[in-house]
Symmetry: C2
Subunit: 419 residues, 2 copies
């Protein structure tokens, strides 16, 4: 039966309304194995539409192998590779486990995850924790003794302190922190400086109880929480995932509810089109690289942090975050123009996330597949840039490729217009 | 002997260099009587060039009387008035005591003050503490049981906790906090949201020791530190005073080193012109008033927080702080234009305070009396607005009046050109 534009618009308004109504609350921090549905000791999650093991290449492949070694599922890289090929170690896509992956997005059973409940619905999302400021990270395709040590520090020191504080606080609503951080120079993807501080402030009173029993851990946790622009990103991602999932599954809606990279390309999911991924190629990134690195090193190893852009943050809130110029290049003028342009492809203006520079206009929120195709304006995303030899080598802005929107539109027409 | 423009420029470059070189460090919190040179039990400090008691009017007069009652120097308002008239209670100007007054700027002997040392020099500045979010404050000309209670809360709860933490931390350098806060939506006069959080973060670890002995006080202090846009203002003011004083007294310099209101008017001090104040009338303020208030209520009761503008902050850093629109009105465009205009009257661009929106250009810093007169552009200042019946009724932007610059230029010519 034909699905009129009017009906599509109504469905998109509903999906947009659900997106805006979500109320993500951090309620716990637990090992993935304890809380992530379907997680097993032998499962490793990674970013993007899942691939057959043989199709994972480069840093993303290295990262999965690193995860297997970290979790003790194999003794050597070769052993891990063989067990992955044999299916003894299973690879899953983060999104299918209600998780959301930063860059390569590696989750193993023992890794602690933030548990974020959407209080406006019944859904929960998870995100694991930031590995720290060192550019060599498992999520950037590196695994060595240093990476292992930093992952264990997260598992054994930071996660228990934060977890206990969060439980004691009775949960920490994330939206109020996010709203406020946007007025303090964050866009909640590549810059989370203020949000990290605001989160630390919420946690601090609830951490006081632990000073008697593990003061050093408390001090180290405080440092980790606030030393970097990135700590809150994982909370922003979990909140965005809980938010986007709340808007997923609206019959007839052409609103994007997830965007993700894997090592092979870029893909989107659409609210009214089930769990299918619509794929396209990688695009060029306008990057600012850390000193000593060059463009030819840039490589793709996955990434789902662009769930932020999916809910009206990150590239869709760049005009909140002029300090990003120092980190990812560009100019304030370009940031404003890019941000304003995105209103042409979104369903509405966010009622909670505001851009002070634009007179507190709500961020452009809810990407409509058809508006992207009509305008040829594609989502702009703030991303970290990985290097061929592993590790983060910079940051930048990338646009989503058109073909995934074309594929989604075709699927939409097939499903809703009987085409 | 004639003083050439060249010599004046050289002197101004020296004064500007000293202004930028200051390194304000918070080293202690103590009652004024213990640390402020010349302070006595019977002294009350207030903002602006000091006046004869009979010349203080309105809210500033009420505030001084309130200070006398708070300190127990008189039993009734009439008693206080009589003792002030008789000189038994002495009124002093904050600046003459190395203090800096917020609005009416009342200091009494028992009030705790931030002790800020300039590590690049030998000078120290002081500022007392924020009374809290209630718009009824002693500094806004109100004194009643509620005001008294909130002042005692500062004296007895907040100041001891912060003081102990600051001493334990071995002092807290303020410039790094201020630099960073400018990238997080603050201009460090009417918006100090990020700086308050950054300051709280510095204090956190040093406060952990006190949780065993006075946990409730620690929690209340944390709340006070971060619940409002204003807590850090007093630190910004003390830092700015320590900074401006470091640049004061440069022979031949026409750079402004202080600006202040009292209830009668506005005044400036100039680096090369000693401690004289050059006065002018009050100007109109472009204000956004809190609900329920009207323009005809606006009144002047002093103010020295514009020391922030004197060192390149506040109105001189408005393009860092677009969220101020909500608080004091205006538009982002007007803020940018106003901020850019001020480069025409300043000696240089601040090497530490940067404006992300302007491509990290340094804030316009060091107001030159002669450039103001040549361009007829006067300093723009972000201020709190007091109401006739006491209390804060809004906030806004005010320009300094030209006559005080004319008076300063005359004095400069007399002194340096034998005119």
């Amino acid at each position: 039966m034909a699905h009129s534009t009017e009906r599509r618009n109504a469905a998109n308004r509903e999906a947009f309304g659900r997106l805006c109504a979500a109320e993500p609350v951090l309620t716990d921090v637990r090992p993935a194995i304890d809380v992530v549905p379907g997680m097993t000791r032998e499962t490793i999650l990674t970013s993007g539409p899942p691939l057959a093991w043989g199709d994972y290449v480069g840093g993303q492949r290295d990262a999965v192998i690193g995860g297997a070694l970290f979790e003790g599922l194999a003794d050597t890289r070769e052993d891990a590779d063989a067990r992955l090929a044999a299916g003894e170690i299973k690879v899953g896509g983060c999104h299918d486990y209600k998780c959301i992956g930063s860059l390569a997005g590696i989750y193993t059973a023992s890794m602690p995850v933030f548990v974020v409940e959407n209080r406006a619905g019944a859904n929960t999302a998870f995100c694991n924790m930031y590995e720290g400021t060192n550019p060599r990270r498992l999520n950037y395709g590196v695994y060595d003794d240093g990476v292992r040590e930093r992952l264990l520090f997260v598992n054994d020191v930071i996660a228990p302190v934060i977890g206990e504080a969060v439980r004691r606080a009775g949960g920490i609503p994330l939206k109020p922190i996010m709203k406020r951080a946007l007025h303090m120079g964050d866009e909640l993807h590549s810059r989370n400086t203020a949000a990290s501080l605001l989160f630390a402030r919420e946690l601090f009173p609830a951490m006081l109880d632990q000073t008697a029993t593990r003061r050093e851990a408390v001090e180290k946790t405080l440092k980790a929480l606030t030393e970097d622009h990135y700590f809150f990103l994982r909370l922003s991602m979990a909140a965005a995932k809980a938010t986007a999932d709340h808007a997923h599954g609206v019959e007839g809606s052409s609103m994007v509810t997830a965007m993700a990279f894997n090592c092979r390309g870029f893909a989107i999911r659409v609210s009214g089109l089930g769990d299918a991924w619509f794929e396209g190629p990688h695009a060029d990134v306008q990057a600012k690289l850390f000193e000593g690195h060059s463009e030819d090193e840039i490589t793709w190893m996955g990434g789902e942090s662009i769930i932020a852009e999916t809910v009206g943050l990150g590239g869709f809130a760049q005009a909140c975050a002029f300090p990003l110029q120092q980190y990812q290049g560009g100019t304030a003028r370009a940031m404003v123009e890019r941000n304003e342009e995105l209103y042409a492809i979104t369903i509405g203006e966010n009622p909670d996330f505001h851009i002070p520079f634009l007179g507190y206009r709500g961020t452009p929120t809810g990407i409509d597949v058809f508006r992207v195709l009509e305008t040829r304006i594609t989502p702009a995303m703030d991303i970290g840039v990985a290097g061929r030899d592993g590790g983060q080598i910079g940051a930048g802005v990338v646009r989503a490729p058109l073909p995934c929107f074309e594929a989604a539109a075709d699927a939409y027409d097939t499903r809703y217009s009987g085409g």
